[in-house]
Symmetry: C2
Subunit: 144 residues, 2 copies
DNA sequence: GGTGGTTTTGCAACATAGTAGCATTTGCGC
DNA sequence: GCGCAAATGCTACTATGTTGCAAAACCACC
């Protein structure tokens, strides 16, 4: 796609996963890296439009799936029925999230994963723990 | 609905929330109370059919919404895009959940809510913490 | 820089989960 | 029982995500 010799952070990330550098992937990753909150498929679609990047609904779904499968991005099922996507700027996705119950926005709380000292009932194998904090974000909390 | 003088646990729970005792509400609550895992709208619909309880898709959605709003049941957004419902047999919904990533089933881990000692960035107001443990359930873990 | 095979895209059709409006029925306080 | 608010059943609709397949874009290799 791009022919210059200095790969962008997005391009590097994609290449590191063995994926092809394509218009949509780079643009989506740019958007996610620049966002300070998780975004829905639809919000990313609008952001692509704003950038003048032509794209297809299905391609965007597949691009997001690929980013998640590759471990570059993460996916969160919200209370509304839209999944939200984000990238952790630094390293892998091992952190908690804050979900504002008023405006619905979801932010990554990097560097915040509490020691979950749980003793599971016998037979359960724990792979990972997912912590979501609910409440009001700074913007929404102001009025209270 | 029922005319006997001994209200069932389901009936008591419904009445305690100021709701009317209806066929669907009682049957759904009975199902949720008997289930040892969270159930989807669809699974509950099948269970109602099995019980011979005629019902409408939309009514079931509204019944479940009412149970959640009343605080009797809880709703979880899963990785598949179906919400799962459950009731905590004892008291309010303050516990973690285990999600089996292989078979997709979700169980309540009652009496297991870790002290989440997180210090949020300034401005965030914490209402509640939601903890979901991912891994393999006893059934699915056997083969590993 | 061109070529060829593989990956990715675009499009159309489909599937699933949930919602809205409104007339009819039902629970229940009286 | 009566009356009225609450709940239900229908129909239609929306939002979100998926599948199959042909066309286009990447890029390793020369
Ligand atoms: Mn995150
Ligand atoms: Mn639970
Ligand atoms: Zn907010
Ligand atoms: Zn399992």
């Amino acid at each position: 796609m791009s022919d210059h010799t200095h790969p962008s952070p997005a391009e590097s990330l994609i290449a590191a996963q063995g994926g092809r550098i394509t218009r949509t992937r780079v643009a989506v990753l740019d958007i996610l890296l620049a966002a300070e909150q998780s975004l829905t498929h639809d919000e990313i679609g609008v952001a692509l439009d704003d950038k003048g990047i032509k794209h297809d609904r299905v391609t965007l779904y597949r691009t997001l799936d690929w980013l998640v499968e590759s471990g570059v991005a993460h996916k969160m099922a919200g209370d509304d029925r839209a999944r939200r996507f984000g990238v952790a700027a630094s390293g892998p996705h091992e952190h908690a999230h804050f979900h504002c119950d008023r405006c619905g926005k979801v932010v990554c709380l990097e560097g915040l994963q509490p020691a979950v000292a749980v003793n599971l009932p016998g037979g359960y194998q724990l792979d990972r723990a997912e912590l979501v904090l609910h409440g009001a974000c700074p913007t929404c909390g102001k009025g209270a």
